[in-house]
């Protein structure tokens, strides 16, 4: 990318414009950049030129393109990923099942008593609530309820969780999970979640609960996942 100037091919010049807007935060991580049409209009260049400029940044890993949605800014990655460490790992029984996730709810709300206690914040402080349905070959496997204090990831409203995982979003905002405490219980589902999971109300499912902590020992995420026992099991690998 050395020395792009006014004589350089126009797509290279546009590439550098977009790059500097990403670096300066005008296009923040997790957000979509303007569409190809918009960029084409803004700079008076044709769409093929825009496409070439964006392609170059996608190849560099600075942008992620999602079919039908646009190009999204990829921020810093977490160096350490708790996912790669020991802990419960969900295993779907069916072989070669294609996993899928559908975000059912994503909202900002007041913490209220229970979550104020969990996160050590005020009852009137904001948290994000995300409810997702995880599927295997289109069949429901688990319903996952995730709670995150808004102070930790203030821009979560604008981020499409179909594009970035929560772990990626944490990385963008410098939130670094260092510890997680997970438990497994057996519980029966309330009617709404039972319907969502396509099981009979009263059927027992695995409840996976996870508290994730950052370096200040604050809880940054609280997750409850109701998982069908006929579809999956959990495995743990231990090494002392």
């Amino acid at each position: 990318m050395a020395n792009v100037d006014y004589k350089s091919p126009i797509y290279l010049q546009l590439r550098e414009v977009v790059r500097s807007k990403i670096e300066e935060g005008e296009y923040p991580p997790g957000m979509a950049i303007p569409s190809e049409n918009e960029l084409s209009e803004m700079y008076g260049v044709n769409r093929l030129t825009v496409r070439n400029a964006v392609d170059a940044l996608v190849n560099e890993g600075l942008l992620r393109r999602i079919q039908g949605k646009g190009a999204f800014v990829v921020g810093d990655r977490l160096e350490r990923d708790l996912d790669s460490l020991s802990g419960f790992r969900q295993t779907i029984h069916e072989r070669n099942a294609e996993p899928g996730t559908k975000v059912l709810t994503k909202m900002r709300r007041k913490a209220g008593g229970k979550y104020a206690r969990i996160f050590g914040i005020g009852e009137d402080d904001d948290i994000f609530y995300i409810r997702r349905l995880n599927t295997a070959n289109g069949d429901p496997v688990s319903v996952e309820h995730t709670f995150i204090p808004a102070t930790k990831v203030p821009k979560l409203d604008g981020i499409d969780l179909g594009v970035f995982s929560l772990y990626e979003v944490y990385g963008f905002y410098g939130v670094s999970p260092v510890r997680a405490y997970e438990t497994l219980d057996l519980v029966t589902l309330e009617a709404r979640d039972a319907r969502m999971l396509d099981v009979d109300p009263g059927q027992v499912v695995l409840l996976f609960t996870c508290y994730t902590y950052d370096k200040d020992d604050d809880v940054i995420e609280y997750t409850c996942s109701y998982t069908r026992g006929d579809k999956c099991s959990f495995t743990v690998h231990n090494r002392s």
Binding site: L82, F88, T235
Partner: protein
Amino acid sequence: MGSGTFVAPPKFVGNLQDVYGFSESVRLAGRVPGSRVVFAVIQESDKSISRKLRVPLGTSVYALRRVRLIDGIPCSIETVFINMERCAGIEQHDFSREPLFDVLRWEYGIKAVSGDEKISVTTLDADEAELLEMEEGHPAFYKSGVVFDENGDPFEYYRTVALSEYIRYATEMTAR
């Protein structure tokens, strides 16, 4: 609900990364562990046990099934299969009183250093229901796994059925 209110004791949290056996973990939680031996026999390994312990079919294994109690309440049924080549004479012990973990560690020098566990949901069959004083068909955890020594050799394979009313499984992960 509907049958009155009672205070349930807190669940025992079985930390899956514990380096202790069941008895010691329960004691550390300030509770009283107990064991009833259902059977303790020397048998020939079948295909499934042979695979887990990586021994030829028909190898002598010590099969021990115990009901585990916490504060006198039957909470789980644990069946272990141990490669007899590693612990000749183990059948002399009374495992309703002695922790298996301690006997393996201190008498046979077998140190558990790693393991793979799998947890899923099952329902109690008639025998399990009777041992756990529950209805047949009652849902329970099914946990199975293999324990390896410091050389990476498997020496124990276990299958546990546990009541979620009394036991919760936990792990803690930390970034390196």
